[in-house]
Symmetry: D2
Subunit: 437 residues, 4 copies
């Protein structure tokens, strides 16, 4: 077995799990693994590598923790994302009703709450407390950024609170912080399980097919595109420009584009593009406007950073120093306006940035289910004494992914793929403006 894919545990699980009277079918065996690759080549007879596979998530026949003597804590970190409350609710209910763990704490405001118990007092959680929270966006526990490096203070406080299981809901940084906690926990010889539920609205965590809240995010983003499209349609030489989330990966922008199919130009961080010259975007936009009188552009916030950096460098020589990189949407807006001014063409550009209206939304029903099952499986893993892992989904099955594996690389959109080809076919955008290697 590839070491990277092996799941750590705290020791032998000896207690019998509650069975729901459903017999053996209600448990998952540690030996069952979900293959990463699912393609079989009929010609070469090549099968996927079995080593490249994930432990299947789900309830185990044996528990490591005895419910009556177990205390769990939940912490939510980083920016808001639809579905966090669903995950919290699922964890609390599965602990309480599924396993009979009644001692559950909510840590306010992320790792900062775990560092400073006096300023931010932990909140006792139970099914009544979480009953309706999934209908609201955000997180009832509150969230904040940073703090993940203060591992000693945090483990001190976990000891002080007598916490046996810590659920961390957060992104790349949060997970790295969680791994740091585990190293300190091991150093101290403690038996505390740390299980992560990966949270990234950008869908850029590796080894999970998609992240919770991502569908809600691109679904809501389609509204912004519709609005941009109407504004563009209704004015002479109308341009609708939408900036969407996606610092490193363009999944939100491309999925929203596919769902609406009203977008003429989509830009993502993974695919460099040219602004100027006969093969550049601005000239292509001019051609489009003269032919059709309107255009809709959808940008991921991380797109075109190379051009912005170059632009900024030029400005530096002009002015003096420390030029802060601008918001890519506002930068693009200025560049377009400037270009058409130089071409003596009047355009009507409307700019839309729906970011915070998306982050704070409640989860769509499909994401709600996903969050519920992530939360349930996180409890199953923790009760079995597993640790240093996140709950993932792969080939539509729930999996255990070592934190170190999940944080080893970011997930990117592949422009050399049939997906990209189908995207290009759907948007029919000019291909010459892109620099695909």
């Amino acid at each position: 077995m590839n070491k990277q894919f092996v799941i750590k545990d705290l020791g032998k699980a000896t207690f019998t799990s509650p069975s729901f009277n459903l017999g053996p079918s209600s448990f998952v065996d540690d030996e069952e693994r979900v293959l990463h690759d699912v393609i079989y080549n009929q010609n070469t007879k090549k099968m996927p590598d079995p080593e490249f596979s994930f432990e299947k998530a789900g309830p185990r026949k044996r528990m490591f923790f005895e419910p009556n003597n177990t205390k769990a804590a939940i912490v939510t970190c980083g920016g808001l994302c639809p579905g966090i409350n669903d995950v919290i609710r699922a964890i609390v209910r599965e602990l309480y009703f599924g396993y009979g763990v009644h001692s559950i704490l909510g840590i306010p405001y992320g790792y900062n709450g775990l560092i400073n118990l006096h300023k931010y007092k932990p909140i006792p959680l139970n099914p009544e407390y979480v009953d309706n929270i999934h209908t609201m966006g955000g997180t009832v526990l509150g969230s904040s950024r940073g703090g993940g490096d203060k591992v000693k203070e945090m483990v001190d406080n976990l000891e002080f609170l007598e916490v046996n299981i810590l659920f961390t809901i957060g992104g790349d940084g949060t997970l790295k912080g969680a791994h740091g906690l585990i190293e300190e926990i091991e150093r101290r010889g403690l038996k505390i399980s740390v299980v992560g539920v990966p949270k990234t609205i950008d869908n850029d965590i590796s080894y999970i097919q998609s992240s919770f809240g991502f569908e809600t995010a691109f679904s809501l983003a389609t509204d912004a595109i519709t609005c941009a499209s109407i504004e563009a349609d209704n004015a002479p030489m109308g341009i609708g420009l939408v900036k969407l989330m996606g610092r490193h990966s363009g999944f939100i922008a491309t999925n929203a584009t596919l769902a609406m199919n009203d977008v003429n130009f989509v830009f993502v961080p993974e695919v460099p593009f040219k602004m100027d010259g006969p093969d550049g975007f601005l000239f292509a936009l001019e051609k489009r406007l003269l032919a059709r009188d309107h255009a809709v552009i959808c940008m991921a916030e991380g797109a075109g950073q190379d051009i912005l950096v170059a632009d900024a460098a030029n400005q530096e020589t002009d002015a003096s120093n420390n030029v802060k990189l601008e918001d890519v949407g506002l930068w693009m807006k200025d560049r377009i306006v400037e270009y058409f001014k130089s071409r003596s063409l009047e355009v009507n550009l409307k700019y839309i940035d729906p970011s915070y209206m998306i982050r704070s939304a409640p989860a769509c029903p499909n994401d709600s289910i996903y969050c519920l099952l992530l939360g349930q499986n996180a409890v199953h893993a923790a009760m079995a004494g597993k640790t240093d892992l996140i709950i993932g989904r792969w080939n539509n099955m729930y999996t255990h992914v070592p934190i170190t594996l999940a944080t080893s690389e970011r997930k990117y959109l592949n422009p050399n793929s049939v997906f990209w080809r189908n995207l290009m076919s759907a948007t029919r955008q000019p291909l010459e403006i892109f620099d695909i290697k």
Copy 2:
């Protein structure tokens, strides 16, 4: 290779497909197959069976049809389902812009339109015609049930219209009709490709991980559950009863239940239950109401048919003959009201049946993307000269599934599964009322 999984074609594809300048990565090879099973057992070292795999869908390097001499037709059959217009739009745009096929017909009102060209005149389709149709529910072509058995008349008309490719969007019956067409086409030695896009709001077609419109359906169904829950909450001894779609399979009811988590009792066709006696539902409902003062029940329309049949039989002995089976929701409503009358307890029951408000809705964004990719892949398959297949999705990849395989058995929910265990844990409904074998 398992014969069941082999895809038919009309002959050797010789024309070069448009490449979008994306190089070899934009094409899929016939040798690539998607494994059906993805579980590897670490103990037994057992790998999935490679024979049990699907041909991967996607654009092929070579086309069978020459675009300028190709005429395509689209027909939509059966009940409404969110996303049909998205599929139509995707097919038309991919044919037109992706391959340069400009001759496309829409057949009105399903197979009946293909039988009777005079009564229902085919509609010329182009990108302008389909531009905004995805924002509306239903199908621009109209739909109807039946007619699938008149294969001769239909093939006569396909010949008369000089159609080379027929896209059929419909359910089990429609697909069986399509297979009948293919047999007649082969009998006559014609070179007409028939490609299906499977449509079932109940998600009960086999060998596809889920059907388009299904997510929209269970998402909208959650609104009905929320309403039932509020009505139940706000009255003394309040009961909210929701009937949802699902004639043979309970996917909508269970997914809506998981997404809302407000449901106390969920009934599906796959899991028999008891109404009467100390282990029966009615007694469990009474206990729940006395303890909590409200209850929410969610039924798939096909649940409890065995009990209805027995009830009807009893009535028959009482009365005379020809007792028509009642609507299960109304039947359940009557049974509950009657039971509590006999117990001298006053209850407030509110009944909700949202069926047609769901079927006629436009697709949610995630379903829109799914429909787009189904439509694009249907065109890829047809242009390559493949026939007698539907486009499926398996392990999140688009696949070719022989029609005969897809229609060989229905897809059911498995009550002996971790999914069912997690459902029971989420709803916490009494297990003794079910008869799980």
Copy 3:
């Protein structure tokens, strides 16, 4: 002053109201009255009758009740309606923050809760308790029908609870019950103010321009019409039939019809219509279907009761006795199906009844504001010692309406009006099927 329009009070108000430092402009004077009629005839020089006017609602300079010694109670009765929680929230917040009344009780399950304090314990209310309730449909207090005649028990309990102000949120029956309470209160010489907030989803209470929740109701009803319209459009000879609320008045059906403009036939209780014969609806429907292939019908639940009664009477002679009047929507469905069977024409009829999905919805923003201002004005009236009144709105101003006046007659739609003419112009439905006197 017309006696009918005079507002009762409990005595001279002597305490100084909190002023919000806004000076005299923040108070309303008892002498200010809102004219009922606003039409001036230039020819006859006739002005509206000043006697026919309402006392203007709003904060008074002097209070009758001293906030520290005041206890208020709120009761919600009858069926659910969007906005009840908004009204509760507004009353609690205005009492608490606006006047400093901190002793507030919520009576559970309507008058039945006031009758039986042991079974349904009153709930202490404060701003924290009501903070988010307006985002949910229904009423946090619960509701029930009936009980309004047990005035002695209720006044006994008001005395027992030492309540000084009772707010009743309910419809016609609830208000009559409230008036009964006041008579008993006066009989006992108590100083308890009873202020009503009129609730009727049908908008059929007189002397208020529209009722809260009504806009939300007809707005949501448009979704049902859209769905019916799509179902009708998408099938050969398709008929969409929608039944909407409106037992005595057709405001929901007509407003939903005007908002969508997709309806071909609208039926309301106020305007009799013919089913049969060459001037009847069924023949008109046949003509419409043959000409356009689809039709949408929108019925208020109280429409055509005269025909149902006659039909039922016929059945009675056929059968034996006690024929229960059927649901008008299901009756209409059967009549249409039967008619076209007799005409040997196949039609596709889809029936939609969205009732409970509308009643349990949260208020739309405009209704939320309305509810807020109703609640605030109810508190102003009660604190000033006024009683036996409801808060109304007339000519967009908030008013005091004596309960006896508001319950003296029902509000009906006038078919002899420009509104009806404009409705007929919008739907273009055949006029001959109606019997307008």
Copy 4:
């Protein structure tokens, strides 16, 4: 009769209007007038001034134009606003079906389209063309700003097109342009009626109780407030800042605030406020944050312009010249961040500007009805030969308002009113930060 309120006409109306077989009740008489004021003072016996009244809108018994010889045109100007398509649709359908006028033109892109017939060709309109347009935001005709001063060119083109009736849908500038057209039309002795439908998303046109699209606008704005509130709640020292439309009048900001009741500070153009010092907003915000840890601020875009001007003037002395006034939302954001930096307090501020997502939305059902009736009444007025007027609504009745009256002054929110008192009571914001005269 006050001259200001008199409606112009083109001459005696001699043709008999279609009656819908509804008898005299379906027509409105010119003598019926809607009183502006509706308050009667019982003490002073003072009645409203009858001169201060509007001609009632509605169908007239006699038409000036003969339908077969009448050609109408519609033009839409200025920024987008929900409901424009509803108005267009109502005008076309009422002309076509209500009066039998079949010759109708749509002028593209506002007055610029009327100036330049060659560049922007008029579009023939009919019921089929407008059938579904009300489900989309924006205007099917397109819109643009300016051009209203080129009256000669426009009247030339109206003559060239042989237009008898021009419907202008637009705001203050558009209506002034329309009045200019009428002066030129009169100068030339033409018989062309010009009827306006007032459009202002800010609700700032006088003598109409509210403008179409305004309700949709503030309803959608509540979503932005909800999001801001969640973001503020979920971070330590969280601030949610929402900028809403309202250049001169704060109706959208105050109504959205009342509907949500989550806002702690609301700022409008009509009420000056202080930023600095112990009575200033920034100090009040600090107090609020220290007490409650979160705050929501809602600003109309025209609020605080006096402070921005002063700030800009200071900057001018610092720098050199031509300082452009910043966006008030971004300015406020910077001021808050800067203030808390100076106080060494870390805050988490999230800024939301939903402007274009609101402007391009379709109308809510209540606005749809309003638009329908505005459009119908515009046709009634024009067919009767009336001109130089807009359709208004006052005391819930449709009225004729002379354009010169409607454009004589802007409509403002009155801070010396019970409305403002109730707003302050609802938000409980500190009163000392405002400068109310």
